[in-house]
């Protein structure tokens, strides 16, 4: 089917009987839903980034009025009195930056967009197993997002107790039994988002298990599909405890219970009039039971994308495919028993600390196996340095830095010094920003021709890549230095009122300039994205990268139903440069020569 002629326009006509709304808005086609997820997530990612850029002004120039007058005016006196950021507004920005980036940006992009679009294609299915469920998953996510965004406009503003929403603070900020407070809306939004990912993960897992094409055995699945399968299980099993916790915090806020409020709590000099008897630590357990697997929800699809791009652009099989698969499964299991390494300083006791410290060290092993296998895959390959490959290559050291800097945090004694400092911020941003986001960019550049029939511009892509790489490191590398100097995270003034922070304060300016420069390079990407949709170079083949996996055996863009004939798979996913073969790639669906 590689030979299938390029006839995207022709296939458009096939669905002519559907109205515009059914085709593009309430569509049950996994590809349309994937694109919906992708565009929504990209917009929200940029929005979350904008919140951070505002914060970076306050961090670099604490207490000085924002030089962009109309923005201060628009934000109003409650948020920016005299153009100077109010502390409450800073806290809102911090809490919502984290929430939006993770729950509304990266996860929907990595799982909702890439998973939705690619998993059915790569397993040779016509659609997801439950198309209507798929559609509702997107719309439930959309409603959750709208609730989150609306929370900026209620009295008192959005949630401001950090993306972790620790009680008692989150329970009593603001003290109001109304549903229309930032924190209550945050919780409601989370319930929607969790429901959405539940629907999505049921769908993904069922699709992979049930709809694999004939001949597509488990060990012939592309690594990306394996990563999505494990991610699906993490979403399925780790999210519900946070849903329970969210419901309970809503009970605390709306019905006046004290599930998370200990007895004898004094707020603002007054004893709190509640029954007490709850446990603030309980929230942390339930929250991190989700939020640690969540880290792997962020990173596994990214690893999957990088594996696809690397195999394709080194023109050789992935090194250690089976160890990759077993590692990712083991990683999935282990991620459920490491959560309390976020809580070493809560006084859980040294024996519990020792347990979670041990599991944390164990879970680093499969991550390192995966990273090593990906690096070894480069060995001896004739590497094509195109834009997706550049992003995938940069992922390796960036994720490496993010992962290795996590080890001191996983050791209870080292964590005493580093806990809640900028070191932590640097660590997880290296994992998620130049790590996961770079992988997602690699994926966008790699699969863009399949989705649109056109290539993204190469020169603009390279500007985007090099600019982003330099700026990302400009932002996050100094955070390690600040953190080791003891500067706490979530400081409204960036540490300028602390003596021990004075020597490293100057770094704040460099980090902020890097952040704003990063935005400029993202504008290059946005320009490239829209320009290429309409005027990019058209691809002349359905398989422009000469790849082996099934998604390239579809017409471009894939029509409703994806494949022109029923797919059958004859070999593993990465048969590149097979000795004796006519070409340097053997597509999975190409029948063996007799």
């Amino acid at each position: 089917m590689i030979e299938a002629t390029y006839n995207g326009v022709h296939h458009e006509e096939h669905q002519g009987e559907l109205s515009f709304v059914r085709k593009y808005v309430f569509s049950t086609d996994h590809k349309v839903i994937g694109i919906q997820y992708g565009l929504t997530a990209l917009v929200l990612l940029f929005f979350g980034f904008c919140l951070m850029m505002l914060m970076r002004w306050q961090l670099a120039f604490p207490g000085q009025p924002l030089p962009i007058g109309f923005l201060s005016k628009w934000l109003g006196d409650a948020r920016m009195p005299g153009g100077i950021m109010a502390p409450e507004f800073y806290n809102q920005l911090g809490a919502m930056h984290g929430t939006i980036m993770i729950f509304l940006g990266v996860v929907p992009l990595a799982v909702g967009a890439f998973g939705n679009y690619l998993v059915p294609l790569q397993v040779g299915a016509q659609d997801m197993a439950f198309p209507k469920l798929n559609m509702s998953s997107y719309w439930v996510y959309f409603i959750g997002g709208v609730i989150m965004l609306c929370s900026f406009f209620v009295p008192g503003g959005s949630a401001q107790s950090g993306w972790t929403s620790y009680p008692p603070l989150a329970d009593v900020t603001p003290q109001s039994h109304s549903l229309f407070t930032g924190q209550s809306m945050w919780l409601t939004g989370m319930v929607f988002l969790i429901t959405s990912s539940l629907l999505g993960s049921v769908n993904t897992i069922t699709t992979i298990v049930q709809l694999r094409a004939k001949g597509l055995t488990w060990m012939r699945l592309p690594f990306f599909v394996w990563a999505q399968l494990v991610t699906g299980f993490l979403l399925l099993l780790a999210f519900p405890p946070l849903e329970a916790a969210g419901v309970m915090q809503l009970m605390d806020r709306l019905a006046g219970t004290s599930l998370f409020l200990p007895s004898g709590l004094v707020v603002g000099g007054k004893a709190l009039n509640v029954s007490g008897g709850g446990s603030a630590l309980l929230w942390q357990h339930l929250f991190w039971f989700l939020a640690h697997p969540e880290v792997y929800v962020l990173i596994l699809p990214a690893m999957g994308i990088v594996a696809e791009v690397i195999a394709n652009n080194t023109r050789k099989p992935l090194w250690g495919y089976k160890s990759l698969v077993y590692s990712v499964i083991f990683l999935g299991f282990m991620s459920f028993i490491v959560w309390a390494h976020h809580m070493f300083l809560t006084g859980m006791g040294t024996s519990i600390n020792a347990f979670f410290q041990t599991t944390t060290m164990i879970i680093s092993v499969p991550s390192i196996v995966i990273l090593t296998a990906l690096i070894l895959s480069l060995w001896g390959g004739s590497i094509r340095f195109n834009v997706p490959m550049l992003f995938a290559l940069a992922f390796l050291p960036m994720f490496g830095i993010g992962g290795l800097t996590g080890l001191p945090l996983g050791l209870a004694s080292a964590d005493i010094h580093l806990h809640d400092t900028y070191y932590v911020i640097g660590h997880f941003h290296y994992v998620v920003a130049p790590g996961t986001l770079f992988a997602l960019f690699a994926g966008i550049y790699y699969w863009f021709p399949k989705v649109t029939g056109r290539q993204l511009n190469d020169a603009l892509g390279k500007i985007h890549f090099w600019g982003s790489l330099i700026c990302m490191n400009g932002i996050f590398l100094p955070m390690f230095i600040q953190g080791m100097a003891g500067v706490s995270r979530r400081l409204y003034d960036g540490g300028s009122s602390y003596l021990h922070a004075q020597n490293v304060l100057v770094l704040n300016k460099g980090m902020s300039y890097s952040a704003w420069a990063l935005a400029v390079f993202q504008l290059v990407f946005i320009l490239n994205f829209f320009w290429s949709i309409f005027a990019g170079r058209k691809v002349t083949s359905d398989n422009p990268w000469e790849a082996t996996t099934l998604e390239w055996a579809t017409p471009t863009p894939p029509p409703h139903g994806n494949f022109l004939k029923v797919s059958e798979v004859f070999r593993g996913p990465y048969e590149y440069s097979v000795p004796g073969a006519k070409r340097d790639f053997l597509p999975q669906n190409e029948p063996p020569e007799a």
């Binding site: 049950t28 659609d127 439950f130 198309p131 069922t206 399925l236 219970t257 029954s275 339930l286």
Partner: protein, 203 residues
């Protein structure tokens, strides 16, 4: 949506997995539900072990009513299975009867639960009264929502959804099986809630 697409294994089992899609889907969904209620039960355990005193539910909760409710739900599970069996034996009429009884049992459960709630409010027991009451209302409330959800699904399958019996009887029977699995799960949660909240002695 366009007629060309036919998702395989909607009504028949995939030979190598032995499952049709919805059956795998509902088991995955139920595993997620186990984690949801598991978190709530863990909360109960953690808060109970962490406090010095704990109420004995039977002293102010209505054990006889809850016992009746337990029986009502168990009966509803039986009728749910019988509605599925009726379809297996090809009788839409009997299916309607048994599924109708299941829905009725769900309604009886909710009415009794409603009386219990109303009485608690009358005597001044609110979620904010104590940690025990907070857990009681959160856990039974969330369970009640699950009962309502099941009733909505069952009512749809009893009414407009049953038209599928004419076009694709195998798939319709599967739908009843899947709805039944969910309904049994909701019963099972109650079987755990009843002793935990009503019977366990305080300390």
């Amino acid at each position: 949506m366009s007629a060309a697409i036919e998702i395989p294994y909607n009504s028949t089992e995939r030979p190598d997995t032995g499952l049709y899609n919805a059956k795998l889907g509902v088991w995955l969904f139920l595993s997620s539900e186990v984690m949801l209620f598991g978190a709530l039960f863990s909360t109960y355990v953690l808060l109970r072990t962490g406090s010095e005193t704990w109420e004995h539910g039977a002293q102010f909760l209505n054990v006889p009513l809850a016992t009746i409710n337990t029986l009502v739900l168990i009966i509803s599970s039986v009728t749910m299975v019988m509605s599925w069996a009726s379809l297996k034996m090809g009788s839409l009429g009997k299916f309607r009867l048994y599924l109708g009884l299941t829905i009725l049992c769900g309604a009886i459960f909710l009415v009794i639960k409603g009386f219990e709630y109303a009485h608690k409010f009358e005597v001044g027991l609110y979620p904010s009264t104590s940690t025990f009451m907070a857990l009681y209302f959160t856990m039974t409330g969330l369970h009640g929502l699950h009962v309502i959800g099941g009733m909505i699904v069952n009512s749809y399958l009893w009414g407009p959804g049953s038209r599928m019996w004419q076009t694709d009887p195998q798939r319709f029977t599967n739908r009843i099986e899947v709805a039944g699995l969910y309904w049994h799960f909701v019963d099972l949660v109650w079987i755990f809630l009843f002793p935990t909240l009503y019977l366990l002695p305080g300390k």
